[in-house]
């Protein structure tokens, strides 16, 4: 019989003949793998569920930023070269890009902005001019959109706060000073997205003298573009507000909230390593005679190590094999709420990670007892004397004359 076959046969026989120890390790490892995989899947699912609960947009379409030039206005076509230079050519093609002439007033709750929709130029030809629709801001409206400059549509949250209804008169105080302006509320609109600016953005109609003048833009910008826009400008001359992505924010929040659970699951699995260490240490003490016999019949430390490692590997592989269907059952019945797993990757990636993690933990836990077994001599084992991985005397004092071979 070849050496490897002898080792395998010894390992299998030992595994089968020690049902108690095998059962303890098997159950422990199976529970650890299933527990960790399920916890990871649950945390992953919770994060996914949390992000699904978020209203996906803060502003219009894919935009994330508002730019306001207080006190000035620009021709919508003439400002294009500046924007193209500063923000890049892609800004014009953005979904949800919108502009207006904005006026600031003191009103209910604080500063309110009256937006008079402006024109968009998709290219340098005047024929590509498109008027920004007021309906872009709304999911629905009670009443109608304003048709005259002294009419406004009010966002529903503001109307609820200030007790405004269709037909109400609304007096606003210009921030720049001057006489109060009075508007008639013609509509109460439900803002699109969850953008906070909608809570204080009143929509009105363009004035005859407004023409192509605009000073308020809703765009999508990255941090670099915001930096370019602000560099060289007096901060008072431009107001750039960038909104966080709600879905990304929720993902971060959910990860942080459930992260503790995941960390505890990881720590819990580490317990398996400690228990493996304890079980193997106990087994080592119980199996001293067995290892002595192995050494006496000529097996070297490495071979004995292979026998013991193979025993452990057999138990680990069996635990993996049994844990897989158990995990699938638990995951589909309890965690995924009876639904069949939509994606194999989503279901099995936590399991595979757990298998690797458990193998690493077991290897770590087994390293000390296995190392003791391999370095011990038959004499030490049979006489019950102490076994050192490193001789203290050598470690502390170095070699002495007594240690030299005679």
């Amino acid at each position: 019989m070849s050496r490897s076959r002898t080792v395998s046969s010894l390992a299998s026989r030992n595994t089968l003949r020690s049902p108690g120890r095998t059962a303890v390790l098997f159950l422990l490892l199976t529970a650890a793998i299933v527990g960790r995989s399920t916890a990871a899947l649950a945390v992953q699912g919770l994060c996914h569920k949390a992000t699904a609960a978020v209203e996906g947009e803060a502003l219009l379409g894919a935009t994330n930023c508002t730019i306001f030039f207080p006190g000035v206005s620009y021709n919508a076509k003439a400002i294009q070269p500046y924007f193209t230079r500063t923000l890049g050519r892609t800004y014009l093609a953005q979904q949800g890009f919108w502009n207006a002439l904005a006026e600031r007033y003191w009103g209910p709750g604080g500063l309110v902005t009256v937006l008079r929709p402006g024109p968009l130029y998709r290219d340098s030809r005047a024929s590509a001019k498109v008027q920004c629709p007021p309906s872009a801001l709304a999911k629905g409206i009670e009443g109608r959109y304003p048709a005259a400059p002294d009419e406004v549509a009010v966002p529903a949250p503001l109307a609820s706060e200030a007790g405004l209804k269709v037909g109400s008169r609304l007096e606003l105080l210009p921030v720049a000073g001057g006489a109060p302006a009075t508007f008639t509320v013609t509509g109460i609109y439900i803002p699109r997205g969850s953008g906070p600016f909608h809570e204080s953005a009143l929509v009105s109609a363009a004035t005859p003298e407004q023409g192509d003048e605009v000073n308020f833009f809703v765009v999508r910008l990255d941090e670099g573009a915001v930096g370019r826009l602000l560099s060289g400008r007096d901060p008072a001359s431009v107001e750039v507000v960038t909104y966080a992505d709600p879905v990304e924010s929720m993902e971060l929040l959910a990860r942080a909230a459930y992260g503790a659970k995941a960390a505890v699951a990881e720590t819990g699995v580490s317990l398996a390593g400690v228990v493996v260490l304890v079980v193997l240490l106990v087994a080592f003490i119980e199996r001293r005679r067995e290892v002595t016999v192995y050494k006496m019949v000529g097996m070297d430390g490495a071979s004995i190590l292979r026998v013991l490692a193979t025993e452990l590997a057999v138990i680990l592989v069996t635990a993996d094999a049994v844990a897989a269907p158990v995990y699938r059952l638990v995951a589909t019945r309890l965690v995924l709420d009876g639904q069949a797993a939509a994606s194999g990757t989503a279901l099995w990636s936590p399991f595979l990670t757990s298998v690797l993690w458990t193998a690493a933990v077991v290897a770590l836990g087994a390293s000390y007892p296995l190392a003791l077994t391999s370095v011990a001599t038959a004499g030490q084992l049979s006489s019950g004397s102490r076994i050192y991985l490193i001789r203290r005397r050598q470690l502390l004092r170095g070699w002495t004359d007594d240690d030299l071979p005679r």
Partner: protein, 556 residues
């Protein structure tokens, strides 16, 4: 019986290696178990005391989802409707300086009405109900609403460069009710460590400490932190007897933060400085809801009698062999008034008697900081719709993000900055505590098992010389428990020592202290010594079944 006990002790002494291992294993287990229990202890009275002093308490109760818990997120995941909202600049709250990103980038909340606008409560009844619930929480001694109103316009005169008078704008400031602990004349017992600090001259912007010369910051720092009135003729803080008089003090650092103005002195005569403030009108609906109307403002004249500074913390950075310390100030743009005076102002703004006051947060005072985190947990349970956090935690979060103070001297690259919405992983302490307990139990049980199993031959010999099984078991148990108790004492003492400064610093009553320590000891002993004794029983029973012949043959 006694000879058996003696034999157990002699065995423990003779086999020093094994005994030492047992003691160390038990000590580690006891330390882990003790740490898991004491992890939820509070803080020392010095922790974040400058912020607590300015806020007037130890716990902040905020609107929904400012500090969401894991439970909040789970509930929202089921019901949906979470959205990003932005706080209005007119919403006065500690959020203004602890979480300024909530006002600029926004934060997530499932509140169907969006972010709070006028007050964190909808109606006076809601507010009264919450206050009542919080006052019933064990350990809470006072609940103070963080009441403040926005200032639309106003200006204060100060001495500028070359003796010129400059007008400093108060636009965007808040009028806030002064917390009772800061009023001059409040008894030291009532104010505790949160009282007003002594007046002092301006400390230097930075101090440099040479590490090479062995200097320490304590040797060069000659000033103190906290809320104080800078030494300036005519300036004073608010007094208890100011009551309903329209007097106020302003945060000087919020005014002079713009260093290009070159001023540090607000002009105050012997009678103070009269300041006209434009404030929004308060409009109250029949159902008790209220909102600000900025389109129809009111003007109020208050008498500015003093200025104050909040020297909150020192920011340090290393430069070569030296450490540079910069004193930072909380530049909260707030004008403090006595609460009765602010109530008068609210009346002038249109708030009817019994109307909803604009509260941006609630500040809770607790008996001491010792149990503050446990009280926070109870507060979360009693007002589930709101967020609760200890000021110590809030300050730690803000400081880690380079907030709430502005840094002027420290180079940009040495300043921390990371903006995000905080979250409370509610299960962290409980689950980690449980895990540590499990570790401790396994370590103790494993050790006990090993100690028994390695001595089977010895047991057989003892039986051969006439000892009965129960006598051997008693002897081993005495040895195990003696060594275990030593380890327990060492580990428990080390674990408790870690929280001793917190307990002693809070000057808790001796009886409370003793009760807490004994309770901890009982739990740790059960988790370690108890587990150890139980775990030893099974292998012992198995070992005691071995006969002398089997032992001599080595047939294990």
């Amino acid at each position: 019986m006694m000879p058996l006990v003696q034999l157990g002790l002699v065995n423990a002494l003779r086999n020093s290696g094994r005994s030492l291992l047992t003691v160390v294993a038990m000590a580690v287990a006891a330390f882990l178990a003790t740490s898991s229990i004491t992890a939820s202890e509070g803080h020392t009275p010095q922790r974040a005391w400058e912020y607590r002093s300015y806020l007037g308490g130890d716990i902040l109760v905020y609107p929904q989802w400012v500090w969401p818990t894991e439970g909040d997120i789970s509930v929202a995941a089921e019901s949906g409707g979470v959205r990003l909202v932005r706080l209005r600049p007119s919403f006065g709250s500690p959020l203004y300086y602890f979480h300024p990103d909530f006002y600029s980038r926004g934060y997530l909340t499932p509140d169907p009405d969006g972010a709070p606008k006028y007050s964190m409560f909808d109606t006076p009844a809601d507010m009264a109900e919450t206050l009542e619930a919080l006052e019933l929480v064990d350990g809470v001694t006072a609940v103070v609403p963080y009441t403040c109103v926005p200032v639309i316009r106003g200006e204060v005169r100060a001495a500028g460069r070359g003796g010129k008078t400059v007008a400093l704008p108060l636009d965007g400031f808040f009028l806030r009710a002064c917390p009772p602990n800061l009023l001059e004349g409040t008894s030291p017992e009532q104010a505790g460590e949160l009282g007003l600090a002594e007046p002092q001259r301006d400390p230097p912007p930075t101090v440099t400490v040479s590490r090479a010369a062995g200097q320490t910051f304590g040797e060069v720092a000659t000033w103190h932190g906290g809320v104080y009135t800078p030494s300036q003729a005519g300036s004073r803080f608010l007094r208890e007897d100011d009551a309903g008089r329209l007097v106020a003090v302003v945060n000087r650092r919020a005014l002079i933060g713009r260093q290009d103005l070159g001023t540090t002195t607000v002009l105050l005569g012997s009678e103070g400085q009269k300041v006209r403030l434009t404030l929004p009108r308060i409009v109250t609906a029949p159902d008790g809801r209220a909102h600000y109307d900025f389109a129809h403002p009111v003007e109020v004249e208050v008498n500015l009698v003093g200025v104050y500074d909040v020297a909150s913390r020192v920011h340090a950075w290393v430069q070569g062999d030296t450490v540079i310390y910069e004193q930072l100030y909380l530049e909260a743009p707030e004008i403090l008034m006595p609460r009765p005076a602010l109530e008068r102002v609210l009346g002038l703004m249109g708030l009817p008697p019994g109307g909803l006051e604009p509260a941006g947060a609630l500040v809770l005072r607790v008996e001491n900081q010792l149990k503050v985190e446990r009280v926070v947990e109870e507060v979360r349970q009693s007002v589930p719709g709101l967020s609760a956090v200890s000021v110590a935690e809030e300050a730690a979060f803000a400081n880690a993000h380079g907030l709430p103070e502005k840094t002027y001297v420290c180079p940009q690259r040495r300043r921390p900055f990371l903006s995000s919405q905080p979250v409370v992983p509610a299960a962290k302490q409980g689950l980690f505590g449980l895990t540590l307990f499990a570790f401790a139990g396994i370590a103790a049980a494993g050790n006990a098992t090993l100690v028994v199993l390695s001595r089977r031959t010895e047991f057989a010999v003892l039986k051969a010389v006439g000892l009965r099984s129960w006598e051997v078991a008693l002897m081993v148990m005495v040895e195990l428990l003696t060594l275990g108790s030593l380890g327990l004492a060492a580990g428990f003492a080390a674990g408790e020592a870690a929280v001793l400064p917190v307990r002693l610093a809070n000057t808790a009553a001796a009886g409370t202290l003793a009760r807490d320590v004994l309770r901890d000891l009982g739990l740790v002993a059960a988790a370690t010594l108890g587990t150890s004794a139980l775990a030893a029983l099974v292998p012992m029973a198995r070992s005691l079944r071995i006969t002398v012949a089997e032992a001599m043959r080595g047939d294990e």
